[in-house]
Amino acid sequence: MAKTSEDMQQTVDYSQFPDKDGHFGVYGGRFVPETLMAPLAELTEAYLRYRNDPDFLRELDNDATQFVGRPSPLYFAERWSEKIGGARIYLKREDLNHTGAHKINNALGQALLAKRMGKRRVIAETGAGQHGVASATVAARLGMECVVYMGADDIQRQSPNVFRMRLLGAKVVPVTSGTRTLKDALNEAMRDWVTNVDDTFYIIGTVAGPHPYPLMVRDFQTIMGREARRQILEQEGRLPDALVACVGGGSNAIGLFHPFLNDASVQLHGVEAGGYGIASGQHAAPLCAGKPGVLHGNRTYLMEDEGGQIIGTHSISAGLDYPGVGPEHSWLKDIKRAVYTSVTDDEAMQGFHAVTRTEGIIPALETSHALAHAEKLARELGPDGIIIVNLSGRGDKDLQTVANVEGITL
């Protein structure tokens, strides 16, 4: 008889996933045009070699400390917690990293790997621009050529980040195909890679894409969860009851969740972009309302029509506006180790204002989705509860969007 998901959960050794071909259960894998199979094998081999190489890890650790500013604080949001009147909420302050979000943890790791592999040109896709800025930043730091693909519509709504990338010396290429957003930027970056495989390293910004990306990006991002686990034990003397993170592709969520996967008492909550509400169909919540399929090199939950075409998504936050999600999240959903929920644009805006006004921290709109859910969860858990929210990025880039939503002219 097949094991129930509860049985599965207790016997799962999470460190064994993905398997050697990049599978998390039925998810993940490597679904790409043949031209990329050899470069992916080369990348996997290089990554597995450096993953445990003391010299590489020392270099990464040094830059994480001196360049990024790690470790980031685990900050007790006392006034906000009191105002809600529920659990004690801690914020993992990834907004304080250099470039203002968790994205730099991964961009730095991959760029250092690119350097070791002798690649002089890096390419990246970006939605909100945070991963693009992080990639452009490390490329400038390491003296590499950098090309960033960005949907033409996202270039419109995230213009400050476009300017930042250009200042850093990156070439920002507008993508006008398809829905002109993140998924199309990813398509275009893959086409660039297919064409320039010899000298180019593709820095994927999230835990999606073909193997080894979901594994590699997760590894570079787990520094957040490892720090948070140590910090909460120091500050509270016990593990939290729940972790909360927003999920677009899911890199900030996996980075926080992964070091806690074996701690069965810790609930994991991933928060997708509910847009105008799941019922409206205008959202970006494949785990809540999608079906498994194949996109961008991996099998995972997707937003698609009945014929298997990928459909347009909507979110107030460009960084969550993506029809797929990292395969490990799909697997964690199916085996019920993590729960996935959604928060609407309006709820996210409320979370944005609440934390801005009570804590003096302006969060990114992506992050605001996690904050809005944490507020609901804090009430459910009550005053004895402890929650850690990944404050994955700062909101400076979103000021124009917030002003537009509220009818304010800057």
Binding site: F31, E34, G178, D184, R191, V194, T195, V294, E304
Partner: protein, 273 residues
């Protein structure tokens, strides 16, 4: 014997190379696809490759991306494409038809149903660009059970070891990607291609076709010296793109270009014979 194998056997007996045109089903409108397929056969196609439109064609350049977008405006689905092949078969039971596309529409339809319905419609081979043999597992079995040939790409980056794996999984023919890049690129190195095709011939008895970047009759003729088949896609689709609102002109231009490729290939073949 599969229709694809029969066709290659017959060509070999004649000392000729196969010409394989590609068009995206539903581009620029669903009504034109079947007439185009027949027109291509009349103009000298030996096998017809029909693209299943997909919203995110990561292996394709701008020409075929736009073709997919035009087809999707009409909602052309995998199911519709199978209907077109069925209609094509009413008048042509000889010419092999290969579907080329991406995995997700097949995933959604389900492997069993897809294999059955494709075979019933008269499809002969299936090429899913983003499905390497390593992941093929169950789909491979389903295609085989339905008598469909799985066609695979081999790229300039493919290692010798993988070439062998692909040759072991493939049936019908091997599709050698003649350049590093997406469809419709324009940097062909004929000698390098010839060397790789030669390697493949040592590994498999299957015919080897070459595609990506073959845009003119001259290039088609050159490539046909090196391989058993020449695949032409973006060059034809570009003719559709330039005349999207005139079905008659599309038929004329697309079949005209293919016919000129056919004559260039055959002239070259008789010159060297």
């Amino acid at each position: 014997m599969s229709r694809i194998q029969a066709r290659f056997d017959a060509l070999k007996a004649d000392g000729r190379r196969a010409l394989i045109p590609y068009v995206t089903a539903g581009d620029p409108n669903p009504g034109l696809t079947v007439p185009l397929m027949h027109g291509l056969v009349e103009a000298g196609a030996d096998i017809v490759e029909v693209g299943v439109p997909f919203s995110d064609p990561i292996g394709d350049g701008p020409v075929i991306q736009l073709a997919c977008e035009r087809a999707l405006v009409h909602g052309t689905s995998l199911r519709d494409v199978l209907g077109m092949v069925r209609e094509f078969r009413q008048k042509d039971s000889e010419t092999p038809v290969v579907l080329m596309g991406y995995m997700n529409p097949v995933e959604v339809m389900g492997y069993v149903r897809f294999a059955q319905e494709a075979a019933e419609a008269g499809v002969d081979g299936v090429l899913t660009v983003d499905m390497p043999p390593e992941e093929m597992g169950e789909l491979s079995e389903r295609l085989a059970a339905a008598g469909l040939d799985p066609i695979f790409l081999v790229a300039p980056t493919t290692t010798e070891q993988r070439m062998q794996v692909i040759c072991d999984h493939a049936r019908g023919f091997i599709y050698y990607v003649s350049l590093k890049g997406v469809t419709g690129s324009d940097t062909l190195d004929v000698e390098a291609v010839a060397g790789r095709v030669d390697r493949l011939h040592h590994m498999t008895g299957l015919p080897v076709g070459v595609g990506f970047g073959i845009s003119t009759p001259e290039k088609a003729a050159q490539m046909s010296q090196a391989a058993d088949a020449v695949v032409v896609g973006s060059a034809l689709v570009r003719q559709i793109q330039e005349h999207t609102d005139d079905d008659g002109l599309i038929l004329e231009k697309v079949t005209g270009l293919l016919a000129s490729m056919r004559s260039a290939m055959d002239a070259d073949a008789s010159a060297t014979a």
